[in-house]
Amino acid sequence: MSQPVQDLELVSVTKRYGKTVAVDAINHHFRPSSYTCLLGPSGCGKSSTLRMIAGHESVSEGAINLAGRDISHLPPAKRGTAMMFQSYALFPHLSVIDNVAFSLKMKGVDTRERRAKAAEMLELVDLTAMAERLPDQLSGGQQQRVALARALITRPQVLLLDEPLSALDPFLRIRMRGELRKLQRELGISFVHVTHGQDEALALADEVVVMNNAVIEQAGPARDVFNAPRTRFVAQFMGGHNVVALPEGHFAIRTDAVGVGAPGNGVEANVTGIEYQGTHVSVLARIAGDQELTALVPENEFYSNPHTPGDRVGLIWDAKNLHKLTA
């Protein structure tokens, strides 16, 4: 091979718990130095996949390759991966700096050296001032940064994040995801991030991997997955789409590609609900065949010609925005 391969690859990786299949022979190639989000509802197998990559769950079948070698039977610390846990799993009895230096202590690095290295990591996450505190004296966001520093000190090729933002309040969540993205760019390593929030995945990921029922439904750049959902599940889970059954089959159409006009134009519909969302107004309307569609209308446009539930309207869309679904 001409270039050093740093990519992470899953080769028909399967996880079984007794008779239930949590992850069903999935294949995926994670591009090097990319930010990938594993997205899906709870119980879809995304966490099991991440934990198999980390080595905290055994692989029932298949292989996990990192940098050209199969790591699926190595202990977690020998894989070149590091994991950041959902609840951060900081050691409550150790100070921030000792938490960060923990893996170096396990390797037998002497106190002064490991503290110096840990101090560097704390500087990276901007927590130098908190070095001597105990984890429960820190805020949620600070704890998360400690967990990040502790995972990164092992110099992993891949950082695995298990729902890293779910313990934070919404405001902090948005700030921390910005920091995660920035850190990934600075370090140039791969991040694999498990989440059930599509907004988080879209905001962060170079590549989104949507999972459902133990398999990958669709994978690709965030924009492709959002704009061209392949299946009904993906269209619905990613949000912002209507799924319409037309004589030619099922189609997805973005809610903002649906316009509301006077009755007689486009498809006949009955307004069933109006929801104000700040920049937009979402208009719920029922069309023939008892299908409910959403039209996302810019706020000023809506209020220049407002509708109320019960109104008869016509829903208009451009046929080129209809996107055929395979399932």
């Binding site: 980390a54 080595g55 905290h56 202990p75 977690p76 610390a77 020998k78 590091a82 994991m83 846990f85 959902q86 609840s87 799993a89 900081l90 050691f91 409550p92 009895h93 923990f102 893996s103 202590k105 396990m106 390797k107 502790r150 995972a151 092992t154």
Partner: protein, 287 residues
């Protein structure tokens, strides 16, 4: 406003009163009584209320006292060491190796079965086992391990400590198991992720997080052993003594003031030991 605050204060006192009263009558008063009696004068045929230090002078002046206190510490220390090692191991097994909660509860209850009988019965049952012609000796002889029956199995320090360990290990298991169950399992995974092996996880994560439980168990065991007199009497065949036996002998001879003085000194000693132990570990968050 002022009235309201006073009434609120009175209500708080009233709410605390029943418990305070119980403690006062059943804990503080008897101790105060013992302390008072310890200053009384005693002769062979009479006990006279007084305030003199004769009892303490005699106690601190006698070499027997020091020997017996030393022996008490020896029992406490050795018993503590054994109950700690066994208790920690059992708790570790229950908390980290038994996977399902049902089995954990079942095995835990199994540990408590011996406690359904009385202390003394459990202790006395050792006697036919350890005696000169007991099960242990005859088994060892029939296996050819020894030719002569071992004398030190019964009525010895060995027997005393064996009985102590048998009686009190559960007091170590329970609090340690309790703190272990509260350790977040993801901490263990995080340690493994950082490259820690089994021993390192035990030493760097589990033991530090179990410290409060270890300390509570240690306080139980040490106070129980230091206050005991019946185990030492039965299992040593009255050949060894600890402070409890000193007190019980005094009582048998109706030397109440002398017994009271010894009790006060023992109480002081145990409190000092506990105070020292609490300097090392903060158990408040466990209570």
């Amino acid at each position: 406003m002022q009235m309201g605050r006073m009434r609120a204060g009175a209500v708080a006192w009233l709410q605390a009163a029943p418990m305070a009263l119980v403690l006062l009558v059943f804990l503080v008063a008897p101790i105060v009584m013992i302390a008072i009696v310890s200053f009384w004068r005693a002769t062979e045929f009479s006990i006279i209320p007084a305030f003199e230090f004769d009892n303490y002078e005699f106690l601190f002046g006698s070499p027997v006292t020091y020997r017996v206190f030393l022996n008490t510490f020896k029992y406490a220390l050795i018993t503590w060491a054994f109950t700690f090692v066994i208790g920690f191991t059992v708790a570790y097994f229950l908390a980290f190796h038994v996977r399902t909660l049902t089995w954990q509860i079942a095995l835990f209850l199994l540990c408590t079965i011996p406690f359904w009988t009385s202390n003394i019965i459990r202790m006395i049952s050792w006697i036919p086992f350890l005696g000169r012609n007991g099960i242990a000796n005859s088994a060892l002889i029939s296996w050819g391990v020894i030719d002569e029956p071992l004398d030190w199995l019964l009525f010895s320090d060995f027997a005393v400590i064996l009985a102590f360990v048998h009686l009190y290990t559960l007091f170590m298991v329970v609090p340690i198991f309790n703190t272990m169950m509260r350790i977040d399992k993801s901490l263990i995974e995080a340690a493994r992720d950082a490259g820690a092996n089994g021993v390192q996880i035990l030493w760097n994560v589990i033991v530090p997080l179990c410290k409060p439980g270890i300390m509570i168990g240690s306080i139980f065991v040490i106070t129980l052993v230091m206050g005991d007199f019946i185990t030492v009497r039965f299992m040593s065949g009255s050949q060894s003594a600890n402070v409890g036996r000193l007190i019980s002998n005094d009582i048998a001879l109706l030397q109440y003031p002398s017994a009271a003085a010894t009790a006060v000194v023992l109480l002081g000693t145990v409190l000092i030991v506990i105070a020292i132990m609490l300097r090392f570990v903060d158990i408040r968050k466990e209570l």
